[in-house]
């Protein structure tokens, strides 16, 4: 049994085993995209590169047989640079959107396509769960948000954007009308306490998310009631009091505490807060800039100075977000900040390193007319439904009809995609080497498999698997070099190619190139609520 060293750790590898086998035994997560146990390594993706110390050579660990005495580097800067380059090169030729453009343009990063599918399928109870993962005040935002998501909506290139904001409002209103509106389950109490200065949109959102994480959040506001600028910037026609009160009520009911008529004007009170609470979040809007000096916080051009990734101010344990750091901003930005600050505070409280988490996504840069036609083929052809003034809210069926206009630009394999997973882990820059300039194509099989050649990374796993079938045609590489693509012999159908091995091929595909059209099975796996 050969013994090798990886990153200075010694490991025995079974005879005939590879460096990758050794790395796995050591618990090292070496990225592999084109490799699958039981199949011949194709050494195509080269994301699993390691360095042989003696020879100074880089080799793919998946196909390099371990030889006794080998000295290997895996988790070093040099090796990581090469792996990152491989991932970035693959990304530069990977045509697709991990996240739909609407989700990417939403400041709160809400999973809009999932919400739309849930509405279209008549599952409003699931839709509100999706919405509230990211947005604490959906009924409010459903009325006052200028809907940047709709500017991102690809459907707008064909006729008009999906009425996303209106649908979000629909979901929230339907929920609020229930006897028991949706309240998420909260994590067990952590015993940590967070003071939030200001019960405007930022503070309320932060309180909601902190409560979900099991922390005791206390909202301190100089006014008699919570709501902050939501009470002053909008007319009751635009934002009825009742709606605002209802959503604030849900937040407080989830566990956040409100201290109205509480002004923190001098430094001793502020310092006292810092002592009594495990963390403080400054969320009192644009006014914070004037107060900051008194509290010992540095200011930047627009507001309190923070690290933009972690919302931390110069004072340990003190965070700031929303209008407090930005001066003026959209309500949805405040709500998003509240969520992100809550995540950052949670990390701080739980002793995890501060880290800005931005979901990784590639994107389709240019959508040609032909590509758009392909995307439209499976969506509802109806034109955009506007709210009918005076006719009351949409029925579930009307909402479903509008939601069915969605093109579902988001990737079916968001969570399973190994390319995305490792790209995020290696902090790959998706456009480091440019963006894919292929034509979007989609091949749908009667069996429910959908093949997107643009997302294929030419790993060849499906070809190897399909070759095992005795009664189907199999797959092959067609062409060569940069333009090589997986295809079906004689231009026959995907069903004829895959036969009974379709599910196995979909399972093996490291990206969303081969998927089942039906997404429902996979969506429960998307981010936990």
């Amino acid at each position: 049994m050969p013994t090798i060293r990886i990153d200075n750790k010694t490991i025995d590898v079974p005879p005939g085993g590879t460096i990758l086998d050794g790395a796995r035994r050591l618990g090292i997560d070496v990225p592999t995209l084109c490799f699958l146990d039981g199949l011949t390594p194709s050494t195509s993706c080269l994301a699993c590169m390691v360095k042989l110390r003696g020879e100074g050579r880089l080799v793919p660990s998946c196909a390099t047989t371990a030889v006794d005495g080998m000295d290997v580097e895996s988790e070093t800067d040099e090796v990581h640079r090469v792996r990152r380059a491989a991932l970035q090169l693959l990304l530069s030729d990977h045509l697709g959107d991990c996240l739909a453009p609407c989700q990417r343009t939403c400041p709160a990063g809400m999973d809009i396509p999932l919400m739309l599918r849930q509405i279209a399928d008549g599952r409003p109870a699931e839709a509100i769960v999706t919405v509230k993962r990211d947005i604490a005040l959906p009924a409010v935002l459903g009325r006052v948000c200028p809907a940047p998501c709709e500017k991102g909506c690809r459907r707008a290139k064909a006729d008009a954007a999906v009425a996303i904001r209106e649908l979000k409002r629909h979901v929230a209103d339907v929920d609020l009308a229930l006897e028991n509106p949706y309240q998420p389950e909260c994590r067990p109490a952590s015993g940590k306490r967070v003071a939030i200065l200001g019960a405007g949109p930022t503070g309320l959102a932060a309180a909601w998310h902190l409560a979900r994480q099991g922390h005791a959040a206390m909202l301190l506001d100089r006014n008699a009631i919570a709501g902050g600028r939501l009470r002053t910037e909008f007319t009751p026609d635009d934002l009825p009091q009742a709606v605002l009160d209802a959503e604030i009520g849900l937040i407080l009911r989830l566990g956040a505490e409100l201290r109205p008529n509480t002004a923190i004007d001098d430094s001793t009170v502020f310092d006292d807060l810092r002592k009594r609470f495990d963390a403080v979040l400054v969320a009192c809007g644009a006014a914070a800039k004037e107060q900051a000096g008194r509290w010992g916080l540095a200011v930047a051009e627009r507001g309190v100075r923070v690290d933009r990734g972690t919302f931390q101010t110069g004072l340990p344990g003190v965070f700031a977000a929303g209008g407090a750091i930005r001066g003026k901003c959209l309500v949805v930005r405040s709500v998003a900040d509240g969520k992100e600050a809550a995540v950052a505070i949670d990390r701080f409280l739980m002793g995890r390193p501060p880290e800005a988490e931005h979901p990784f996504s590639v994107r389709i840069k240019h959508v040609t007319a032909a590509a758009l036609a392909t995307m439209l083929a499976t969506a509802s052809g109806a034109s955009r439904r506007e709210p009918d003034a005076g006719f009351g809210p949409w029925t579930l069926a009307e909402a479903a009809g509008e939601a069915a206009r969605c093109l579902h630009c988001d990737c079916r394999d968001q969570e399973g995609c190994k390319l995305r997973r490792y790209a995020a882990a290696y902090r790959a820059d998706a456009s480091r080497y440019g963006s894919a300039d292929r034509e979007f194509r989609e091949v749908r099989a009667a069996s429910g498999v959908v093949y997107e050649p643009g997302k294929c990374i030419d790993c060849g796993l499906c070809i190897q698997i399909a070759a095992r079938s005795t009664d189907s045609l199999g797959l092959t590489f067609v062409g060569r070099g940069f333009d090589v693509r997986v295809g079906v012999p004689f231009d026959r159908s995907l069903d004829e190619a895959l036969g009974e091995l379709a599910a196995e091929c979909v399972e093996a595909c490291p990206t969303g190139a081969l998927c089942f059209v039906e997404r429902s099975d996979q969506e429960s796996a998307r981010r936990p609520p």
């Binding site: 390594p41 194709s42 050494t43 195509s44 993706c45 080269l46 994301a47 590169m49 880089l58 080799v59 793919p60 196909a63 390099t64 047989t65 090469v82 380059a85 491989a86 090169l89 693959l90 530069s92 030729d93 080497y433 440019g434 990374i457 030419d458 070809i463 399909a466 070759a467 045609l473 199999g474 797959l475 092959t476 590489f477 067609v478 062409g479 060569r480 070099g481 940069f482 333009d483 090589v484 295809g487 012999p489 004689f490 231009d491 026959r492």
Partner: protein, 795 residues
Amino acid sequence: MSESNPTTNPLDLSFVDQVVEAQGRRPEAVIPILQAIQAHWRYLPPEALERVCALTEITPAAITGVSTFYMQFRHRPVGRHIIHVCHGTACHVKGAALIHEALARRLRLADGKDTDAEGLFTVEKVACLGCCTLAPVVQIDGVTYGRLTPTTVPEAIDDFLRRRDAPARETRRPVVFDGEPVGEIRIGLGSCCVAQGSGKVREAIDRVLAETRAAAVVKRVGCVGMCHQTPLVEIVSASGTSKLYAKVTPESVAPVVLKHFRPRGLARRLGYRAVGWLDRLLTDEPGNPVVRHAIDPREGPVCAFLGPQRHLATEYCGRLDPTDLDEYLRHDGFKALQRSLEYSPQQIIDEVEASGLRGRGGAGFPTAKKWAAVREAPGEPKYIVCNGDEGDPGAFMDRMLLESFPYRIIEGMAIAARAVGAEEGVFYIRAEYPLAVERITEAMRECEKRGLLGDSVMGQPGRLRLSLKQGAGAFVCGEETALLASIEGRRGMPRLRPPYPAQNGLGGKPTLVNNVETYALLPWIFRHGAGQFAALGTAKSKGTKVFALAGKVRRGGLIEVPMGVTVRQIVDEIGGGVAEGRRFKAVQVGGPSGGCVPAELADTTVDYEALSEVGAIMGSGGLVVLDDSDCMVDIARYFLEFTQDQSCGKCTFCRIGTRRMLDILARICEGRGKSGDLGELEELAVMVKAGSICGLGKTAPNPVLSTLRYFREEYEAHLAGRCPAGRCKALVRYRITDDCIGCTLCAQRCPVDAISMTPYVQHRIDLDKCTRCDTCRQVCPADAVIVESEQVARP
């Protein structure tokens, strides 16, 4: 996919049945079957491919994968005649792109189409036709037209159509002699010689001999190497004296022949004298026109060209009939094999080791070490393969060796086979080399017929059977694992080594893969002894190396020099330097895997280590000389475009990395470069080199890295919007100076009407219309058209 024409009948697929009958039903027969089908229909009709799958073990996936991998195969019907435009290095630097454009104009090809509206011609780009000294070259259905310019392209097409329509010539009649002493007329008939007109000269010689009944035999010989002098005729008189005639034309054949051989019969003699006298009178040429063509090997340029050369692999070049086995035997042929039969396999390997021979395919791996590995590897049977898949643009050494010395290569293979214990050998030769395929096939047959090979080797126990597989247009198949995949009928994708073919080759058995030239050197080594071979060359690089010398050099050709000569000796002494008025800038060594040796490092010696130290490689032996009119950024882009196009597409770094490098180079050449581009390019180059699995990817960045190393200022000039050499179209403009005489020639020839017809007035070029095709500059009788590259304003 199918383009079935409703007016034509369904294909008669019985031809497919015959092909399968001849080639067999095994998966490895797929490439020969596809080649036969394409030869028949000129493309691959889908119904024919389905028929193949129905008849054989070849699967639809395999036939689709293979037929779309190799460039040779076409899936759409083509025009009646195929025009191959060579984009090899030499052709590139001599304006292949302009030739391609001129063809498209002449044939009125619609944008993006490769076939004309009448379906008469299809234009295809080919990597290299291996006629580098005739650059730029196009080949129309096997007829080669060399030294073209955009203005002569239409003439070439017209010439082709005339030939096609002309009635077939009468076949040659054998000439019968009656006892008089006989002299010999030798004419080189390698494919590039034929391209240069040697075929027509040979026809003229036959005609003259038939008419005069002069006492001479015509002998076809292999490559002489002096491509710059072709068509080259050597006349060896009955007494044995020899005279060389260079650049012979069909018209000059009669006087040359008659100078040495007397016509028989008084009437003929008189007739010919009269003709000669008339000729002189009409052409007003002083003296005997024959003298003009005669060259003496001991004098002047020929002497310089041959001087530093040592002919080992090319021994007796220009003197042997390539497929005449008896003649080869008379010139010590198979004596080396005879001797090696007296040795034990280990002694053979020891002898090769003592010679210091290293693989001539490019990387220079010690030959004896490779042989020992194959010999010691467990597994039977063992195979031996001759790698004749020379695909580098700018290289044609292996083609010349295969065409000219087939027996020598077979002899070398037989020695190697004995050393490693192989009883079966395969020649893998690219399909673009039909003459090489033909001559090797004939030579193999002859050897078997005479009992030199086959069930016994020269009558000794032990067998050796040789066969030949043709490549199908994939440069990457020069990589040994890809080559083996191709022999086995698969897509030519390299795989990770180890295991090496020495352990795991054809059919998983130990396999020796050596290059053509390596085998060609063995007979010399075994006849003269390892010591004599090792006495040539440098400490680590022994013996000689064959190079294809081309580009901007006066005397291009096929040369064999001892290791250790300097690049400068090759360029100046052998090649005669660059053209007058031009400055020698660099030599590109090793083609797309190699790099540039700049003029200031021209004293670098030809030696594996010395070349790699300066950032080049020995490579297989392409030497393209560049002068000050060549843009180094364009050269880097050219090579990368080639390797990028030839990538098999397996590894990320090669498939996508080379493409991204090319994106950057292309925008630099087009004047759209960004300030960080050079750093980006360099970084990517290093990644691709480090991260690729096979030799193609690992060396693809070399031309970029080497030009960045020596000519960085040229890259920077491009970033600033200027191409110092005036090559990059987007960065140059054409201008007509005061020297213009107003002759309107440029206006008449301009393909895009960018010059207005203004007789006797200085012409002007409309730069918005101008496509930089260079025609005006070439036709201007007053040299009034100049190319400028000033700081071009950026959009």
